[in-house]
Symmetry: C2
Subunit: 204 residues, 2 copies
DNA sequence: TTGGTAGTTATCTGTTTAGTCAAGTATTGG
DNA sequence: CCAATACTTGACTAAACAGATAACTACCAA
């Protein structure tokens, strides 16, 4: 089997952080290698180009996010409570990033997608796939809420697209303004979109 | 006065199109000069660097947008009708871009902002200024609608931030997916956020 | 018509960048 | 311990890039 290495993983971690704290276009392969502590020759041993690395990094990241989101959106949690916790969790995650990097970073996929969608086909496809995955969580929560009579949303898919656009818009605004305050309105806005005037009380 | 030139304007037009159809980071000064039909020496005669040009281009563009938006949001138009027309106008503008470039391009400021906010201070400031200008139109329409009793929105500023995040999120999604269909839900979503279930009939 | 001003151009420099490659080294399974 | 494999390394090339400059040219105003 020859020797083993975590160079691939280090490269994926590096590119994720660099793109997220900066941008895809402004991130060079040299920078990625420096941050990962990997020589450029090794980079090209593992990956064909920057976009291939980015796609792999997004896939690897999704394996982690999926577990977190599965827990947040567990069907054992009341549907509107899932949404509330999702807002809360997202705001906390953004706060953590701000503490670490001095910057509100927003949604990595959404930012990347809006930057590269016109130029990088594979990356755009991958981003769309990831965003669609995320939207599904909202959709099923909304469908469950409708079934329970907690909200009126006969078309859960359409409603989830609304909520999703709103939420991603809010995250991006928080990034642009570098302001966590933007996210305090997330819950209110989400529930306004659902036609529920007041967020529900949270059961344990 | 010496000779006059529209080189400056051509450079501003070129950079706007290149950033919008691609991205800020992937747009080089050589590309801008080529597209503008201006030599690099002239570029540096007019501007200190790429970001200075971008800021100037945004300012110049705003002079045009302002007139259009002033017309759309004229106080002589019923407030909810202003919002409806704004959605319609935006969707048409996106359709025009798709026809011209084969791409849904979304909001130039929002995309640029999310790309460069962590790296280019002046540009970030300018983008924030522009986005704030645009949001104000929504705010005053909502305030007027509330005063008329057409919607219940005692905090027009907060409501406008909601609508704005939603709308920008939707535009960005349309860009990422390169799909005009995303925008068909804009009106429905906007009015859902306002707590008005059905968009009002449009008077002349 | 002329002189100063506004703008143009070709050419140059040094740096950063992506991408290649051949030779080397560590590791693992047999 | 050996040999196949998995990875590493540094040195290389060629292109793209930002930015500078000096000489040139067109235009307006007096």
């Amino acid at each position: 089997m020859g020797r083993v290495s975590d160079g691939k993983e280090r490269l994926m971690d590096a590119v994720r952080e660099l793109i997220w704290t900066g941008s895809y276009g402004s991130t060079t392969i040299d920078q990625i290698c420096d941050k990962a502590g990997v020589k450029k020759g090794s980079f090209y041993y593992f990956f064909k180009c920057k976009s291939d690395l980015a796609v792999a990094a997004i896939d690897a990241d999704w394996q982690i996010r999926r577990v977190e989101l599965d827990a947040l959106f567990s069907p054992t949690t009341p549907p509107l409570e899932r949404l509330r916790r999702f807002c809360e969790y997202s705001a906390q995650a953004q706060a953590a990033m701000k503490a670490k990097f001095g910057r509100v970073l927003g949604c990595p996929q959404f930012c990347l997608g809006s930057e590269v969608s016109t130029r990088e086909d594979q990356l755009q496809q991958k981003v769309m796939e990831m965003l669609e995955h995320r939207r599904k969580y909202l959709e099923s929560a909304i469908r469950d809420a409708h079934a329970q009579g907690a909200v009126i949303a006969p078309d859960a898919a359409a409603k989830s697209r609304c909520l999703f656009a709103y939420f991603e818009g809010l995250l991006t605004q928080a990034r642009i303004q570098n302001d966590l305050g933007v996210l305090t309105e997330a819950q209110t806005g989400m529930f306004a979109l659902l036609g529920v005037s007041v967020p529900p009380v949270s059961p344990v």
